[in-house]
């Protein structure tokens, strides 16, 4: 016997975390992934109730949820590509002008964060006609 409430708790936690991710993140792709995670929570609920009642209706519904999720992902990727082509960015805040004109923009100004790139070390070729000097570091890397 499996405790039903445990699965409902895990499903609701997944649903709420997906909702938080959908509300806060600004990358269009992360938004879609968060929506898919909300669907995971709902599917978990349906399957748990299916096992609880010992009939297949919840599992059949989950199959339909899977179908709709696949359709949604396809359409969403097409839309994301179109939006990217127009704005050259995946930022969802660029599209906040679609709202009503008299409602002020919900997002605040933020300082630009320098994206930390790791310092890259390129291999240096020795000029022709000179014997290469083997350093410890290069020997260690190879």
């Amino acid at each position: 016997m499996i405790v039903l409430t445990n699965y409902l708790i895990v499903g609701s936690i997944l649903f709420v975390l997906g909702a938080i991710g959908f509300l806060t993140r600004r990358n269009l792709i992360t938004l879609m992934l968060s929506a898919e995670m909300m669907l995971h929570g709902v599917s978990l609920n349906l399957v748990a109730f299916s096992n609880f009642h010992q009939n297949m209706q919840g599992q059949a519904f989950t199959a339909f949820v899977l179908t709709v999720a696949a359709c949604e992902a396809g359409i969403a990727l097409a839309l994301i590509l179109t939006l990217y082509k127009r704005s050259k960015s995946l930022d969802v805040n660029l599209w906040s002008q679609l709202g009503e004109a008299d409602i002020e923009s919900p997002h605040e100004e933020e300082p630009a964060v320098p994206t930390a790139q790791p310092a890259q070390k390129f291999p240096q070729l020795t000029p022709a006609g000179r014997s290469p000097q083997f350093q410890k570091e290069t020997a260690h890397r190879v």
Partner: protein
């Protein structure tokens, strides 16, 4: 105050979890998040240790806690990671853990279908789009989430309300220790023994208890009870694929 004293096991992990998630959300410069991680793990531990009830079967419990813990941890990491590519990979981990939970609930076909559809198709195409569109790694909008404190507060208020409804009170738990439900659903055994008298919609005899959990039962249910819905779902897939082809920018109208 009395209410708070009775339900502190529910309120405490909500507060701790909200603090941890709001703190872990990317906002500005990367900062040390050791405290937030510890607090989040504490919240998950409180939920796992006190709110979830063990069933008594050691193997079932071990698998359930493993899959549930991995699912929740990977979900938190997914919504808080600064790099969207890593978010997609953590979402793959969530998908695998959820399909493990499906297996525990005797839905093997759905587990494999979820892995194939989500991890095999959706995440891969998302990663392709990510590689196509955002080659610079993490960007400015990934580092600054939008109103993280308010959104996290809202989400955890919703979660607290859901858990407050879901968790049985003490007298209910004494009545029905295994399911925790007394009012929502009929007892399992009565449903299993007399499927015809249940108040659910009419289902064919093949979809009842003896075929439960098998692919035969699911197929009979899908193509018997839900035949028209399956046809509609197929039409929806066709329309969605046509729509995706139409919406996607053409190569002739400019470089992507």
């Amino acid at each position: 105050m009395q209410w708070l004293k009775e339900h502190w096991l529910l309120v405490l992990p909500m507060v701790l979890g909200a603090f941890a998630v709001a703190r872990l959300m990317p906002k500005g410069e990367p900062r040390s998040s050791l405290l937030a991680r510890l607090v989040g793990l504490t919240a998950i531990g409180i939920v796992g240790g006190s709110l979830l009830q063990p069933t008594g079967s050691v193997l079932n419990d071990a698998l359930f806690f493993l899959f549930a813990g991995v699912a929740v941890l990977a979900a938190i990491l997914m919504i808080t990671h600064r790099n969207p590519a890593y978010s997609a990979l953590w979402f793959a981990v969530v998908t695998l853990a959820v399909s493990g939970l499906f297996l525990l609930q005797s839905a093997p076909f759905l587990a494999s279908a979820t892995v194939i559809v989500y991890a095999g198709a959706i995440i891969v195409t998302f990663l392709f789009v990510l590689m196509l569109a955002q080659q610079a790694g993490t960007t400015n909008y990934d580092q600054n989430s939008r109103q993280p404190v308010v959104a996290t507060f809202t989400g955890f208020v919703l979660l607290g309300a859901l858990l407050f409804v879901l968790l049985p009170s003490k007298e209910q738990a004494a009545d029905c220790p295994l399911t925790g439900f007394v009012s929502l659903a009929p007892k399992v055994h009565s449903v299993a023994q007399s499927p015809d008298q249940s108040s659910t919609p009419q289902s064919t005899s093949a979809t009842t208890a003896e075929n439960f959990g098998t692919m035969r039962g699911l197929g009979r249910s899908l193509f018997g009870d839900y035949l028209f819905a399956v046809e509609l779902a197929g039409t929806l897939l066709l329309v969605a694929s046509i729509g995706a082809i139409v919406i996607t920018p053409k190569r002739s109208s400019g470089k992507l």
